[in-house]
Symmetry: C2
Subunit: 333 residues, 2 copies
């Protein structure tokens, strides 16, 4: 295993130390239980947004804590759900009296732990709503999930709802907006190579030199099919066609097109995929009015990408464009 780490046990803790050293102006890292809050939390009267999940998907979620996006993020061990006590303490730390939205990716452990945390928080008088993101069209059930997995639409939901909450939208409509983003977002991913979880010490699966995995999850869960390596253009088609059919996306729709790197894919390759994805979307009559190209929801050093399409309405565009100041997503302020 070749990694820039000191010890598998220390990966998450030391990365949090690094984030503290680098971004102390934007975020605060709390310990035992571990969670990250924006430096100015809690903000009185503001709906707070909390997300979290296993580590290894950076910059999601810790890199998205800050003004205009998340109030808090709870990092679990690598590819392991955070615990209810992390979520509870984070909820208390960012509670500004206007309630908290938990944004939860659909993995069995995450859903269970976030449910427990929400119950505990409510028992302490905090108003909590939860939205489960399940945007992955690749598989119905998978290794770690009942139903569809939650993947890259999560970032879009965090940004859009973060903009709404920053504008002082109350909890119930922010939660509705989050459900609407989830209902209109679809994703699918693929891998050229596996990643290695530090504790495991070896790749979680093996792909031959001429193989790729289509429909993979962000923990390397198997997807739809393992096939022979194809061109970037064919990969874009294989990912986008099931997405287009699923919503379905219709001619004239305004969309956000998001090409996401899995961690080990050069930016130059993501642009090659984006080029074809944009062309397919345009041919389908879609208007790509917003986009994102980069590695935002990763699987450690896995090589591969995912494509996400989000059908936009005016409110989503407005809050997508709103200023955001986080370690890993920043514009407009």
């Amino acid at each position: 295993m070749k990694k820039l780490i000191n010890a598998p046990d220390a990966v998450v803790e030391e990365a949090l130390d690094g984030m503290t050293a680098a971004h102390g102006d934007l975020i605060r890292v709390h310990r035992y239980p571990n969670f990250i809050t924006r430096a100015d939390a809690p903000i009185r009267g503001k709906t707070a947004l909390l997300s979290g999940g296993g580590s290894g998907h950076e910059p999601m979620h810790g890199g998205f804590v800050g003004r205009g996006m998340l109030d808090a993020a709870c990092p679990g061990a690598v590819f392991t759900s955070p615990t209810p006590d992390q979520m509870l303490e984070a909820s208390k730390a960012v509670n500004g009296g206007a309630g908290i939205l938990h944004i939860v990716k659909n993995y069995t452990g995450d859903v269970m732990n976030f449910e427990m945390a929400a119950d505990l928080a409510r028992a302490e008088g905090i108003d909590v709503e939860s939205v489960v993101i399940d945007d992955d069209v690749a598989v119905k059930d998978s290794t770690w999930t009942a139903g569809r997995r939650g993947v890259a639409t999560t970032v879009l939901a965090e940004k859009i709802c973060g903009g709404a909450a920053e504008a002082r939208m109350p909890l119930a409509p922010v939660a509705d907006l989050c459900r609407r983003v989830n209902a209109n977002g679809r994703s699918m991913g693929m891998a050229l190579s596996a990643c290695t979880v530090p504790h495991a010490g070896k790749p979680s699966f093996v792909l031959q030199e001429d193989e790729m995995e289509i429909g993979i999850g962000i923990h390397g869960e198997p997807g739809r099919h393992r096939v022979k390596l194809e061109s970037a253009d064919r990969v874009a088609e294989m990912l986008l066609e099931p997405i287009l059919e699923d919503l379905p996306f219709k001619s004239g729709d305004n969309v956000l097109l998001f090409v996401n790197g899995m961690g080990g894919t050069p930016q130059i390759e993501l642009y090659i995929v984006y080029r074809k994805a944009y062309e397919i979307a345009a041919k389908h009559g879609l208007k790509v009015v917003r986009n994102l190209v980069g590695s935002y929801v990763t699987s450690l050093e896995m090589a591969g990408c995912s494509i996400t399409l989000l059908k936009l309405d005016d409110e989503m565009v407005k809050f997508w464009d709103a200023p955001v100041v986080t370690p890993s997503l920043r514009w407009g302020a």
Copy 2:
């Protein structure tokens, strides 16, 4: 070779298509010869900044074209210098009558071609100054360079000088500022794995499972020594110690600490390296007042990192903090 590409010959062209589709609001991609300009170029009365180099180091340089940074970037083939005609046409396209600064990384081909382009531009009545970046402390001469290689300080120079030019600083003082950034910036890199140039189809070198290369260049040029794999903390020491001695950096200095990913390294590992680098810098008495952590100067999918220290003065801080709106670096506006 596992890559998200269509054909080795088409990589740069198709990535430029993708950038056009994604960032048409910020940049314009010109063809034959290929170069990228900010969408609003030329800007009358503004010193224009132009850089360029081989492709494969994305987001450098194309991702840094926009308000507050570069006016133009010339992408060569992968790991191959752009040609003088690209640089000349780009210079003409962004010439606002106040002269042009060419920011050149110290590789033999780049230096030669930029010199020729500067001569050609001057012959057409354009005022050109050139600054060669040579910040890599690892080796004196290397495969593709006489003298020190130009690496990650380039991004810092482009940002700081970009801020100055945006504030309408004239050409001569912008060039002086660029020389000062270069004179006060030091870098060193390492690799855990090689990368594969699309045309070559196989890795440019081989590292055993228990080996790493210290002092590597951004094209995989050999470095100081090939050694057994070490911890992230030891790697940070091995990179930072030669940097600290070289300037030398002294107790009380204000610095910018930049931990850069080589392309295939997860963000979580970069934070682990940043944590130790910050600790070493602090122990040395340095005040880390600004920082950057991410993959900005890459070698395709190479796993590894580099560390850059820049001794800051007040003017550099002011222009580092100035607004920037480019595809890959953005804040404050």
